[in-house]
Each structure stands twice: as structure tokens, then as C-alpha cells.
Symmetry: C2
DNA sequence: ATTTAAGATGACGTGACGTCACTTTCAATC
DNA sequence: GATTGAAAGTGACGTCACGTCATCTTAAAT
């Protein structure tokens, strides 16, 4: 018993002098890697500590620490533990293939996440349009997401000519986070809130005025284009197919009525200004 | 036996007439979801088929299909099955919290992937600089990645004044994929390839000329800045701290010698042109 | 009645650990 | 030398969304 104890202490002191034995606690403090993880790495053979006490406690060397830091870095790069083991043990092969592979994977994942971001924004904005109707919004999105964006682009080309393509890009996108789109969404949401107020209510008239101002700002002089767009807007299926969120018919009708009221009021109030403005 | 058979057939025919029973094969064909997955969804209670044959075969309805498509969509958005179950069963709560949550998560993941992309490019380019030395490149990267970019920016501010900050941004970044950075990396790699050719070899001289042209193109008139930069370049530790990949001393020395050879040749060949160009 | 394809069930495996339960070891204190 | 408490060890089970067998049953056709 006594001799064993002394032997152990000598052994540890020897280790400290020679290549600085590091207990598992210090390893976790220096790297932030948990004890469990270190035991797991030992278990799968990714990082076997270079020594053990006679009692079985793991003792790490500085070389082990270096290897661990390499592992940590490569893991942050998204490599799996088996790949890391391969990369670190097979010293002679160069890594460019693995790295390029991983880079391609990372780029692919980024694309997916961007798609997800788009759909999530689209859903959020659609819910802002619709108030609280979740099911309907998802149902439409599912139809849109089923077909790839390719088909939507294709359909757009069928509907609009080249010049008008540029104008379409200026339309508020339901999944955009630019201030323009957000303002449009806000306007539509306000119109929905006042759907029961009637077309000649002052709030509705204010909203109509702001919508017209915004339309003029974006598409002044493109009356033919606006006309075509308005016809598509009235057909829910076509709206969905070019990527615009389909508005309910009642909302469109409300806007049309309010628009007429707005026009007649403009004419009675400023009959001469309307000609040149 | 016979009566049981007849009963079963009647049952199925009844189902077909009433709400269109769909066998599991058709579900997989329409959705692309595997049989195993459908059984799993049944097991965890995410999608229990609305009926079963007396023998235990699953029978899906159109409502089931709708729910399945919702599940499929939400899963593509990155939600977990338990969350999807919650979202679909608790009908009254709105989804905006979940969606915003998920959007935040998606944005966070995108950030991480961009970081990974940067480090991977940096590693690849570093290996192009160094030839094939993997360990050294990774070791340096680990040191850089250990400290956040904050400390690097901080150090940059200590070394350079505000005006020079803009010039630093024009330096080739070791992790950039812009044509400028790639050209620099190519030049350095070529210089490394001809490291044994001696400073007055014609290939080396051509490289030096191209390097000087490129330097002039980016930093003409900023001699003081270039001088400072050159001093930092000679100190590997400082180079690493501002995010430039540290070049080995021999390469820098080779370039200095080749530069002097280049200058003397220029002066002997065109002694009068050097004044105004 | 037999065949056969398709369906069901159950069990195990994946990856990188977290968590819990229980035992052993280390170093120090009495 | 005995005790003690903290830290170390091992082993087993759980995670998540299924894939992959192996084995058994059912449905529908011949």
C-alpha cells in the first residue's frame, strides 16, 4: 500500500518534470470542452490521453492539448469526428479535397437557410396581411413552395414583357424586408382593419390617398402597366402564380369603391388642378 | 371467413365513396414521404391515420394529407416534429412567436455558416501560400480563431490611423474570394515556387514586376503607409495580429533582394524615365 | 387454396454527446 | 493510519428523425 502510494507520487512528479502532465479539469478549463466529451473522445479513439494514473485517471500532455485544439477547430468547421480523426491521423494526404468538400457543403447549407428565411418572412408578412388566419396562409405557401421558383419566373415572363419585368421588380415583395415592402404591407393591413368602415369613411380615404401616392411614386406614367397589374390582382390564381400574395376579393372591392369616392371628391374639390398634375 | 371478406370490401368501398380512403403507397407517391416516416409519425402521434382496416393497414383521408403537407412544409422550415405538433394542434394561438423565433434561429445559423466559410477559405488560401504544410496553417488559424475578430480590429486601430484604415481594407485578405486577393495569393505562390531560383532569375524578376505594378495600382502615392506596412510584414507576430497571413522570413528576404536587383536594372536601362513616371 | 406483394411490428443503429446512478481514487486532514 | 469530500471513473439510458434489417400478417389476385 505505502510503496504503491509513493510510486504513484513519484510517477506524477516525473511526469510533471518531463512533459507537464495535465489533469482533466485543467483541460476543460483551457479548452471549454466538458469532461464527458473528453471521455467520449477517449472512448471512440479520437483523443486517447497519453498516460493514465495507476488508478485510471486520464493524464493529458501538451501534445494532447494541441491535438484537442485541432479537433475543436475542425469541429467548428462542421467536420464530423470520424473525418477529423482521418484528417489528423493520415498525415501525408493533403486536406484540400476535404476542405473544398466542406466549403461546398457550407455554401449549400447557406442556400437552404436563405430559402428558409424567405419563406419564414413570407409567412410572417402573409399573416400580417391576413390578420390571424394561419391555415390559409400556409396552404397558399405550400402551393408556392411545391413548385420551385423557376416556374414562378417562367410564368412571370409569360405575363409581362421585358420592360415591365423591371417594373415588377419594384412591386412590394411579400417576403421582402426592405422599407418599401414593409410600408405596403402596413397599408394593406390598415385597410383590412377598417374593412367594415365603408368606402367613404375618412380613415379609409386617408389610406387610399397614401396608397395612390405610393403608387404614383413607384409607377408614375406607367398607366398601361398598372392596368394590366390590376387585372391580375383581381384574379387570385394569377396573383399567386407571379408570387404576389393573393388578396381577398372583398378587400379589392372595398379599395375600388373607395378609389371611386376619392376620385369624385378630388374632382369636386379641385376641378382645374386635376388636368395638369 | 367469406362474410368477413365481404364486410371489409364494403367498408373500403364505403370509405372510397364518402371521403376517399388513400392507402399508404399513394401517400408516399403524392408527398415523397417514406412509409417508414409515416409509421413513425403515427407512432409519435404527429399524424394518426383517420382509419385502419380490420387487419391494421393504415388508411389516410384528404384531411390527413393536408395535415401531412403542413407538417412537410414546417419541417422544411426547420421546426422540430414536437414543435410542429404543438403548432398544428393548438389552433388558437397564433404562430408569429414561433415564426419569429425560427427566423432568428435561421439568421443565427447563417452567421455561423458565414464564419465557417471564411475560415475554410482562409485555410485553403493559407495552404496555397504554404504549399502543403497543413499543421502550421491550422495552428496559426487556431490562434486567430481563439481570439474573436474584435481583438484583431482593436489591434489594427493601435497600429494604423484612420486614413490608413481605408488603405488596409484594400490589402489582399487571406480569406477573400475577390479577384484582387486571388491574384495576390497567386503571385505569392509563384514566388514560393521559384524560391530556389535566386533573386536575379528572370521568372522571379517578372513576378517582382507584377507585384510592384499591383502595389502601385492599389497604393500609389502612399509611400509612408507602404513603409509602415513593410515593417509590420517583417514581424510575423504583428502580421498575424492584423489578420495578414505571416510569410516566412526567407520569402520576404528573397523579395527584398529581388527588388533591389529590379531597381538597379531599371536605373541602368531607363535612367531618365524614372524621374517623372 | 395458394401465391405474392405490400403492410405491420419490433429491434437495433446513427452522432455527439447530456444526464443519472453508482463506484473508485486522490490528496488532505485528523 | 483512518477518514472524508471532491473529483474521477464506468455503465446505462435518452436525445432526434428516421434507415435498415428480420419476421410475421394481410389483401387481393389467380
Amino acid at each position: 500500500m505505502t510503496s504503491r502510494h509513493l510510486k504513484l507520487r513519484d510517477y506524477i512528479i516525473y511526469q510533471r518534470r518531463c512533459c507537464a502532465t495535465i489533469p482533466i479539469q485543467d483541460v476543460t478549463k483551457q479548452t471549454g470542452i466538458t469532461v464527458r466529451t473528453l471521455r467520449y473522445y477517449d472512448q471512440i479513439g479520437l483523443l486517447n490521453p497519453s498516460a493514465k494514473t495507476p488508478g485510471g485517471h486520464r493524464i493529458y500532455s501538451h501534445d494532447d492539448l494541441m491535438r484537442l485544439k485541432h479537433i475543436q477547430f475542425l469541429k467548428q468547421m462542421g467536420f464530423r469526428l470520424q473525418e477529423i480523426d482521418d484528417m489528423l491521423t493520415i498525415q501525408d494526404r493533403d486536406w484540400s479535397a476535404s476542405l473544398n468538400n466542406q466549403l461546398a457543403y457550407v455554401l449549400e447549407e447557406q442556400e437552404k437557410l436563405k430559402q428558409m428565411e424567405n419563406y419564414l418572412r413570407e409567412l410572417l408578412h402573409s399573416m400580417a396581411f391576413e390578420g390571424e388566419a394561419k391555415g390559409a396562409a400556409v396552404r397558399k405557401l405550400i402551393q408556392l413552395s411545391g413548385r420551385s421558383q423557376e416556374s414562378r419566373k417562367k410564368y412571370r415572363k409569360l405575363l409581362f414583357e421585358e420592360h415591365e419585368q423591371k417594373l415588377v421588380s419594384r412591386l412590394p415583395k411579400v417576403n421582402g424586408d426592405d422599407p418599401d415592402s414593409l410600408e405596403w404591407i402596413g397599408l394593406i393591413a390598415q385597410l383590412r382593419k377598417n374593412r367594415d368602415a365603408g368606402p367613404d369613411a375618412p380613415q379609409v380615404q386617408r389610406i387610399v390617398r397614401r396608397i395612390l401616392e405610393k403608387t404614383d411614386e413607384s409607377f408614375s406614367g406607367e398607366d398601361e402597366f398598372l392596368d394590366k397589374l390590376w387585372k391580375i390582382r383581381k384574379c387570385p390564381e394569377q396573383s399567386a402564380q407571379i408570387g404576389m400574395y393573393p388578396l381577398e376579393p372583398e378587400l379589392l372591392e372595398l379599395f375600388e369603391q373607395a378609389y371611386e369616392v376619392y376620385l369624385t371628391r378630388q374632382q369636386t374639390q379641385h376641378p382645374e388642378q386635376e388636368a395638369d398634375s
